[in-house]
């Protein structure tokens, strides 16, 4: 990608650069007018784009086929409109029908697809011993096995976590903490990568590095 030459593109680039600095003025300095202005602009623009995109989608998926004679499209259209009755207290009950339909369809589809990939495949992978003789594979295998069994035991609330259950449930809690720590670490690192992208953009607009 080369540095843009068209005036509008260059203006767009610099507007983005200034807006980015306005947003970063909050963590780098403190909450201020520039930050709030950029924040409100961001929310407004995002909302506008979302509304336009979804409106176009409804037109494309529903209204256009309806006007072309696909009379069945009236069903999703009516169901969609019923959702807006949430805004009128007297007729709010009507919105329960599309919600019920969505939840029901979601559950049905979810259950149909979940059993094999999410349960069966995952369990088979967990209980299958490594075929190679590498030490690290066996360590991973045992680590996952112990972690899985102990973590499940931690959520077994039918029995008190004492006696023979005391040690495995404590180990299970440790595994859960390690798992949550890894999730949190990954989240932080993802945000850092986004920041890296912004740092790159900062330098690219200033032409200090190639675009």
């Amino acid at each position: 990608m080369a540095y843009p030459t068209a005036t509008l593109d260059v203006i767009g680039l610099w507007v983005g650069w200034f807006l980015m600095l306005m947003i970063y003025s909050y963590p780098l300095y403190k909450e201020n007018v520039a930050y709030r202005a950029a924040e409100h602009m961001f929310i407004g623009v995002t909302l506008a784009i979302t509304i336009i995109t979804n409106f176009s989608n409804v037109m494309r998926m529903c209204i256009t086929p309806l006007t072309q004679g696909n009379i069945l499209m009236i069903v999703p259209l009516v169901l969609g409109l019923l959702m807006f009755t949430m805004l009128i207290p007297e007729y709010r009950w009507l919105s329960r029908y599309p919600v019920a339909l969505l939840v029901g369809a979601g559950f049905g589809l979810g259950i149909r697809g979940t059993i094999k990939p999410n349960l069966q495949d995952a369990i088979i992978d967990t209980i299958t011993a490594p075929t190679g003789g590498a030490m690290i594979d066996w360590f991973n295998y045992l680590y996952v096995a112990v972690g899985l069994i102990c973590s499940i035991m931690y959520f077994m609330l039918t029995f008190e976590h004492s006696g023979p259950l005391k040690a495995p449930t404590r180990i299970g809690r440790l595994f859960i903490m390690v798992g949550l720590g890894a999730y949190f670490g990954n989240t932080v690192l993802f945000r850092f990568t986004m920041l890296t992208g912004r740092a790159q953009y900062f330098l690219q607009v200033l032409k200090l590095i190639p675009m």
Partner: protein, 297 residues
């Protein structure tokens, strides 16, 4: 006298220890803005002076690359690339998607681009820019098509498996799907040879439960680093034939295809950010432990 001398010495050493402790405990009270400034500046330095940390190829990335190149892809196969990420995650997902698009095009595959993010058009335009040479040799509607935005989560992914035209009666530019030569005979999951889902959310999971599970469709994931701990077990279980994790995965794929790009450039900066984070954790913990030892509430 002797005991008095001992007492003075003892008081001196206690004061000395307390002053050392207060210096260390100050570490826990460093203004977070200081850290942010250091981070913001330190992230830029590797872009100006690349360090060149070595990059090794992870087996999950190698599997992904192997699955979209060589004997694994025949000419004329139809693949779906799902842009499940917005502009904010370009630095994480886009380099890997760029490499995958290049690899599939070079194997002669046809690609359908779709995306559940409202800014999907921007991502598609960006891809056209980052794969300019490859798109130049391909014809829209014959070798690739951009069906555009879709919404509805897992239900729509399931509907796509049954009837693509019911979700996308037209492409993004308003051309009826029946008028697109490439879509002739491409009606449902059975006409698709593989799916690459790149996500900040879990559309890869939806394709897994609605496509890979019931129909055995080849499926790979180009995910953000945050999703690595979800995606990698799915790769180990064989649901994904390969996984690219974050921009690190992108850098590995750039290395595999032999065209270094955005991810490779960013890797040094990302490594520096990780080192700084580790340093910050050590400093914070040192400060907190010192506070506790000093009895400060």
């Amino acid at each position: 006298m002797a005991s008095g001398h001992y007492w003075v010495k003892s008081v001196d050493s206690t004061r000395e220890a307390a002053s050392k402790m207060s210096a260390l405990s100050k570490l826990a009270d460093i203004d977070r803005r200081v850290f942010y400034w250091i981070l913001f500046i330190a992230l830029m330095v590797p872009f100006l002076n690349p360090i060149g940390f070595p990059i090794t190829i992870a087996p999950n990335t190698q599997d992904l690359y192997d699955g979209i190149t060589g004997d694994q892809v025949d000419e004329g196969e139809v693949w779906i690339i799902n842009f499940g990420y917005g502009v904010s995650a370009w630095s994480e997902c886009h380099p890997a998607v760029t490499v995958c698009t290049k690899a599939l095009f070079r194997e002669g595959a046809k690609i359908i681009f779709i995306g559940p993010h409202y800014d999907v058009e921007l991502t598609y335009n960006k891809l056209q820019d980052t794969c300019r040479e490859d798109f130049a040799t391909k014809e829209y509607g014959v070798d690739y098509v951009f069906l555009g935005y879709f919404t509805g989560g897992e239900s729509v992914v399931a509907q796509l498996a049954s009837d693509i035209a019911s979700v996308f009666p037209q492409d993004h530019f308003g051309t009826p799907i029946g008028d697109i030569p490439m879509m002739d005979g491409v009606e449902d999951v059975h006409d698709i040879d593989g799916v690459l889902s790149s996500d900040t959310g879990d559309y890869g999971g939806h394709f897994m439960t609605q496509w890979q599970g019931p129909y055995g469709t080849k499926l790979a994931e180009v995910g953000i680093a945050m999703n690595g701990s979800t995606d990698l077990p799915r790769w180990q279980a064989g649901n994904f034939f390969g996984v690219s994790v974050g921009s690190r995965g992108g850098a590995e794929l750039e290395l595999l295809i032999g065209e270094l790009g955005e991810a490779t450039t960013a890797m040094d900066s990302i490594s520096v950010s990780h080192l700084l984070l580790v340093l910050a954790i050590i400093i914070g913990n040192l400060g907190t432990i010192t506070e506790k030892l000093g009895g400060k509430e």
